[in-house]
Symmetry: C2
Subunit: 238 residues, 2 copies
């Protein structure tokens, strides 16, 4: 709550906090859509959609700048302490991660334009892991945003722990790509494009994990960013 | 300056601000050292140093947590406005980027242990671009930290604009790696390790650029994160 005891001020402050939260969640929705479209563009060999995703990154960046301004305004005008201060700082960090997720979605879209722009279409075998990893990464982001919207620390911990599954998938997909390249060196060019796509998806998982960790910090007041999964699970029970 | 007019409070506040700055710059020095050692370990085929870099990432993470606590304390206790608020928020963002640069240095060290752990040493040709890119990335980070220490906006703009050179180097190095892989598919495994190293160096450049942009924001009050290089150069003159 605001330190002010003036009812009117408190109400406006709560509204401003709510507006910031809405802005962050709206940005999250946009970024989710960017990932989904970039991966759909790959599946449909749809260069038009891929170019739209690339062009729309500036809208994501616009949210970033607006949210940052809101954060500065709230801190300067309302001078929050305690849990409100933590909430605002967590929102600021979430925005940074969402902006970087937007960059990764844009990279995937760029790889789509690259992979279908050449003379030959890529071997479908190369693409087989992308959809599965994209689903895992998108689910992580959706879950992290859901945990943020509901301040649900158990869900947040579940999401943060889920990052290991995505990392394992990434390592398996990478091994398969290397095998394809060795078996048929003509696939190397396309395989490198796919490698950058799955790397982008793995990073989206890292950012979703960050967002989930901010939720734990918010609710528990514990900074769990650099602790092991075991300690993280323990934090949920603490 | 603090909003307080009490001389003693102002002095302690300035000291706390100075302490935060020192902490951030010390963390920057540590991270610079991590990059330098990781790349040295590659050149010297020195697995021991690589493992030290990996182990020392927890020290970088410790700085991250401490700096974040300092930021929360300063905001809660001192309730800064205007340029002081911007300074503190820029320091918080810088810390996030430094922590991620630390992660990238750790990744390079992991690749060093991976590339020299197999039965055969990598072809030296594969490594030829790493040292040059590492120098560019390290120079960018050093320049960004220097610009931050001196609040030198011209230097910061120079650094931010320098990221294009690193990106171009990355693209050239990537093309050469693909060529090597195609000419000699036995090099694919090692080439992928090198690919992840140069990708990490390219990302270090991105983070250094971010830090340089916070300096511009701090001094000019302009958010230049999502503007073109032309506008960025114009901001320096503005």
């Amino acid at each position: 709550m605001s330190v002010s005891t003036d009812g009117h001020t408190v109400k406006r402050y709560d509204q401003q906090l709510g507006d910031l939260r809405s802005l962050v969640l709206e940005m999250g929705g946009l970024v989710e859509d960017q990932i989904q479209r970039a991966v759909q563009a790959l599946q449909d060999e749809d260069l038009g959609t891929a170019r739209e995703v690339i062009a729309r990154d500036h809208v994501v960046n616009g949210f970033d700048v607006r949210a940052d301004e809101e954060v500065v305004n709230l801190l300067a005008l309302r001078q929050p302490v305690g849990s409100d201060l933590r909430l605002i700082l967590s929102m600021a960090k979430t925005v940074t991660d969402l902006e970087r997720i937007g960059d990764e979605a844009q990279k995937i879209a760029r790889m789509v334009t690259h992979i279908f722009d050449g003379s030959s279409a890529p071997n479908q075998k190369l693409l087989r892991d992308v959809a599965g990893m994209a689903k895992l990464a998108a689910n992580m982001l959706h879950g992290a945003l859901d945990a943020l919207a509901r301040m649900d620390v158990d869900r947040a911990i579940e999401i943060a722990c889920g990052d290991e599954e995505l990392d394992t998938e990434f390592q398996s997909a990478l091994r398969r790509l290397v095998t394809f390249m060795m078996e048929d060196p003509r696939t190397i060019g396309h395989a490198i494009d796919v490698l950058f796509m799955i790397k982008a998806l793995e990073r989206i998982g890292d950012h979703a994990k960050n967002i989930a960790e901010y939720v734990v910090y918010l609710v528990k007041g514990k900074d769990v960013r650099h602790v092991s999964i075991e300690s993280l699970s323990a934090a949920g029970k603490g």
